[in-house]
């Protein structure tokens, strides 16, 4: 705010307007007068659900320039009526958290440090190990001849924070592959 530009100097504005003590409009700077809420200037609003606990509070995600700028409660939700708990309110920081990882890391046997790996090779390596371990530990029948058709060599843990669709794909893939040791937080 160019202090001396024209008559914008608050002292003149104090005299001009009724605000002689310089408490309100006379001292407001141009930037303050142009204040706008982040939500109003967001490109789009997306309705989502909080990822933390099972109450399933509605969330509104405000996006600007393809980046999440604000996540707050969704007033339309009959479950939460626009309210959130501390974790829900911190969702925006969960998405943009400083500690979040963005690249695939790999630790070779006996290595003491991570090494970067590009995603496609990582998935290929995992697929190979999956098939190899499945073959090593396949059990066709048990000792009494009853069919088992399973592998005990592959296990999985986790799913309560995943979507139903993801759980569905995981269960279908693992069951088709015969890996039955699948578990998730519902048990803990």
């Amino acid at each position: 705010m160019g202090r001396f530009s024209a008559l914008e100097w608050p002292v003149f504005r104090q005299l001009r307007s009724g605000d002689h003590l310089g408490r309100g409009p006379a001292v407001a700077s141009a930037k303050t007068r142009a204040t706008q809420s982040r939500n109003a200037t967001a490109d789009r609003v997306v309705q989502s659900i909080c990822p933390y606990c099972a109450v399933g509070c509605g969330q509104r995600v405000y996006v600007k320039d393809e980046k999440v700028v604000q996540i707050e409660g969704d007033p339309d939700s009959p479950v939460s009526r626009g309210r959130l708990c501390p974790k829900g309110a911190a969702s925006e920081q969960l998405v943009n958290a400083p500690g979040r990882q963005y690249d695939v890391l790999y630790r070779a046997p006996r290595a003491t440090e991570w090494q970067k790996l590009d995603r496609d090779t990582a998935i290929d390596m995992i697929a190979e190990r999956f098939v190899r371990s499945r073959r090593n530990t396949w059990q066709e029948t048990d000792d009494e001849g009853r069919i088992l058709r399973r592998t005990m060599g592959i296990a999985s843990l986790g799913g309560a924070t995943l979507d139903n669709e993801e759980n569905y794909l995981i269960k279908k893939l693992f069951t088709a592959a015969g890996a039955i040791q699948i578990e998730n937080q519902a048990r803990i």
Partner: protein
């Protein structure tokens, strides 16, 4: 500026519609053209569950950095200690045994007996609707041996704001909604407002006395880079959200609506109803804080319903905006200046010995 000039200033000031104390509509007093109703908070601590969603939502909306050095304070569940440059909402936790509860109830009863001129006789409040509904007797709740008070503290947005008055650069200003906001593009961090606030709310970021440690970085003991360093910071009642008609972040996220946001007159009404309702339930320790416009700061924009003496929550028992005594100070200063002039004159007239 001799004492006469100082004298005239105070008269002029009193003459015009500006006041330094007593009930006024702050926005109108600051000559905002638009006829906005004054916005404010009413924090009902009797239904606060201490979840600190308000602290997080406020920090998240205003991008305030983490402060404090990640140490456990041992103050029950409160590890953020107090309001400050980066903590604009703070939840206090107080554990009280039977004896302290009795004391609080006793002091509450004394308040009631003082015959506060309840603006409306309590009977006429919407008590009928509730009384019919609530037939239980007036026994206090059933956990007499222990109580855990939780209260979310915030800037009071006083009718007569000490910080606003003493700010030399006009960085602090009264918005059209009656709230007090710091303009971080104007403030040069002189720090007068920090001392000016009778509630100890506003603070200069980075090296304010209650500021975060100087270690920097993310991990424990490391402090993230602090935006707007060196500038005074405090709750803005989400001025940017109000401009777009949205509810402040803390009020919107409060799960039990312990933090209520709305037009100030209605909130005063709600507060009075709520305190009557609690008194009917025998909770005489319930009292309002900041709802009386005759108090030292002309009533506050953010009112509270407390369940014990204000000091237990770290609030001043009888705050008073320093500007109320400014005319006296100007007069005394004028006097001292005159005395000094006279002394100098005598010194010279008396001739050099």
């Amino acid at each position: 500026m001799s004492s006469q000039a100082a004298q005239s200033v105070t008269n002029y000031a009193r003459g015009a519609s500006h006041q330094f104390s007593g009930p006024t509509d702050p926005a109108a007093d600051a000559h905002w053209p638009s006829g906005q109703v004054r916005k404010g908070f009413f924090t009902d601590t009797s239904i606060c569950i201490g979840c600190k969603a308000c602290e997080v939502a406020c920090k998240e909306w205003n991008h305030n950095p983490r402060d404090g050095d990640l140490e456990l304070t041992g103050w029950s569940y409160d590890n953020t200690q107090s309001l400050g440059a980066s903590t604009w909402r703070h939840v206090a936790f107080i554990e009280q045994d039977r004896e302290r509860i009795e004391q609080a109830r006793e002091s509450g009863r004394k308040l009631v007996d003082l015959g506060m001129p309840a603006v409306r006789p309590s009977g006429s409040s919407s008590g009928e609707g509730r009384a019919a509904y609530r037939d239980q007797d007036v026994t206090p709740p059933d956990t007499p041996e222990f109580r855990w008070l939780m209260a979310s503290d915030v800037c009071k947005h006083c009718t007569h704001a000490g910080c606003l008055d003493v700010c030399p650069t006009g960085a602090l200003f009264r918005t059209e909604f009656g709230s007090v906001v710091v303009q971080d593009d104007v403030c040069n961090g002189c720090g007068t407002c920090v001392a000016g606030c009778p509630f100890g709310v506003i603070e200069r970021r980075s090296d304010g006395t209650a500021a975060p440690t100087t270690r920097s970085g993310e991990k424990k003991g490391e402090q993230p880079d602090v935006p707007k360093r060196g500038v005074a910071q405090k709750c803005t009642l989400c001025y940017d959200r109000l401009v777009d008609g949205e509810t402040p972040a803390c009020a919107k996220t409060c799960p039990t609506t312990s933090i209520k946001f709305g037009d100030h007159p209605d909130l005063v009404e709600t507060a009075r109803d709520r305190v009557h309702q609690l008194h009917e339930e025998g909770l005489t320790e319930a009292r309002l804080y900041g709802a009386n416009e005759l108090d030292g700061v002309g009533g506050t924009g953010a009112m509270f319903l407390l369940l014990d003496e204000p000091e237990t929550y770290g609030l001043p028992p009888d705050p008073r905006v320093p500007t109320a005594d400014l005319p006296v100070m100007f007069r005394r200063a004028g006097l001292a200046a005159a005395g000094m002039l006279a002394g100098a004159a005598v010194a010279f007239l008396g001739g050099g010995r």
